[in-house]
Amino acid sequence: MKREKELLKGNYAIARAAVEAGCQSYFAYPITPQSEIGEYLSSAMPENGRAYVAAESEVAAINMVLGAGATGVKAMTSSSSCAVSLMQEGLSFIAGDEIPCVLVSVMRAGPGLGYIYPSQGDYYQTTKGGGNGDYKIVTYAPSSVQECIDLTYKSFYVSQKYRTPVCLLADGMLGQMMEPAVVGEYPYEEIDQSSWALDGAKDREPRHIASIEREQETLRKRVVKIFEKYNKILEKENIFEKYEIEGAKLVITAFGSIARIAKAAVKKARNNGMKVGLFRPILLNPFPEKIVAEIAQKVDGILDIELNCGQMLNDIKASIACAATIPVEFYGRPAGVMMTVEEIYKQIETVYRKIVEKKYGTACI
């Protein structure tokens, strides 16, 4: 069946992709700006003979996901910011239990209730986590409606292949905007979960899934094993976008929705003779440190742009700490106040002058 391009809202695109990916169980509590996901799935899941439960809270929703994931089915919840805060306990347990599941996090502005404006203020919440213990939430950040679909697929695949929670980290802009996209077929192989999932101890020993472990050495080994998976994910499942990096003197780093606007500004800068490139990590956690370090070794400066007060910034700085001695500038804005292409362009121009002209002593703008 040929799939047509459609005019799709980001939240609906994610919901449709979840159905297409074979999500069997969805549990959630409404919160703007992602409520359309739950609205769509409240009909689509039962119509497809799958499970939908309007959870009494996000605390319950993530624990329903834990239970569903423990049976080996593809399970998902979606939420936003202050409500994802309520899921941190459950996410820590899911990570410790090595249960596959997908969390769709559509960021709004914080802290606290903040408001429903699109923001990237939950980079820390997602990649550093509020849950206890040593674990990571594998995170993919889309920057278009098409990527919302493609990365929903990727999230289910990676979660099932590596038995880990995966977060699709979007924001209110991506969730609410409409643009043409294709809901293609789920492109990944199905991963057999029958060797560990709970389905009743028939003709086999009973299984248990638990994060608790009395034997210290066994617990240590388990956590180390979980971290080996993150290394493997970084090696095998890393996705990123490099734009005009070759020969660039200044590289812009940005993720998600703002990276699109930054890309337009980079194009304009290139047209005006500035040697500027863009690096957009799509896998945010584990963070692609090596790639950032390699880029840093070839450029004279980095300008990190985020819709927050500087969160990915610290991963960028950590990545290049031992690789290069170059200035890392930051341009960010909290509270969901979107930047225009012109604003970013002006910032690029200022930083480019500062970094490049100072070094080469020529006016190349």
């Binding site: 439960v53 319950a60 569903a68 423990a70 049976t71 009743g200 101890a201 638990a210």
Partner: protein, 250 residues
């Protein structure tokens, strides 16, 4: 000729390791649940939820698939399991602190939805595993490590009556409070637990049994004294009985 008159239920592991204190009622309660799973012939399709508290190591003795839940979240986890695998028998085994304090929202809403699961709640009026602190069911006047002069209403309020609360929830199909302080009480408790499983197997709604259980370690009593307390002051406040039975009506 030898005749086997008493044996370990199949739903208890051959290599079971009981983690409860000597004299505690948990062991009897676990055995009753296991006997019921055997008698209903559902062991091979049962998924249990281990809750935080003294029952967290349920997989050490129950011979069924088990998934752990965070403190209070057992009935949310049970919901996720049952909705994903509706043909399985799903039960939680929780303490009163888990089910009625930190998890009261999950408890009430799972039962309001009428989830086809069974919840067994051990009510021993204290947080046993953490060393005997006051909980939601601690009796007025009861001395614990956090109510050293006895629970006072003006400071800590009243003990929560779990079965009375849950019988009012529309989705519950069976609600009973039982004790384990005598052979007849144990036989009655088993009947009630069986009904609570039949409630989900027959698809009527949530089955719930509250077991008034002893905690001799934290109560600082002998097992006999502890059972006398169950019969006495605990049963006066928490009256045993069947509070709701849609299973027999069905």
């Amino acid at each position: 000729m030898e005749q086997l008159v008493y044996k370990k239920p199949d739903s208890i592991r051959d290599d079971y390791r009981i983690t409860f204190c000597p004299g505690c009622d948990h062991g009897v309660a676990v055995r009753l649940v296991a006997e019921v799973l055997d008698e209903l012939n559902v062991r091979e399709k049962t998924i249990g939820i281990a809750s935080v508290g003294c029952s967290v190591f349920s997989y050490d003795f129950f011979n069924v698939d088990i998934v752990e839940a965070a403190h209070g979240r057992s009935l949310a986890v049970a919901t996720g399991v049952k909705r994903s695998k509706p043909d399985k028998v799903v039960f939680t085994y929780q303490g009163d602190g888990d089910l009625a304090s930190i998890g009261i929202a999950e408890t009430i809403h799972a039962m309001t939805r009428g989830e086809k699961v069974t919840a067994i709640c051990i009510n021993n009026t204290t947080y046993g595993m953490t060393g005997g602190q006051a909980g939601p069911t601690t009796l007025i006047g009861q001395v614990t490590t956090t109510t050293t002069k006895g629970r006072q209403v003006d400071i800590s309020g009243y003990p929560l009556k779990i079965s009375e609360l849950l019988k009012e929830v529309d989705g519950t199909a069976y609600v009973a409070r039982v004790t384990l302080d005598s052979p007849s009480a144990i036989l009655n408790a088993k009947k009630c637990i069986k009904k609570a499983f039949e409630a989900q197997i027959k698809g009527i709604g949530t089955g719930f049994v509250e077991i008034l259980a002893t905690c001799p370690t934290n109560w600082k009593m002998t097992p006999q004294e502890a059972h006398a307390r169950v019969r006495g002051e605990m049963s006066e406040v928490f009256k045993p009985g069947v509070y709701k039975d849609k299973v027999s009506e069905a």
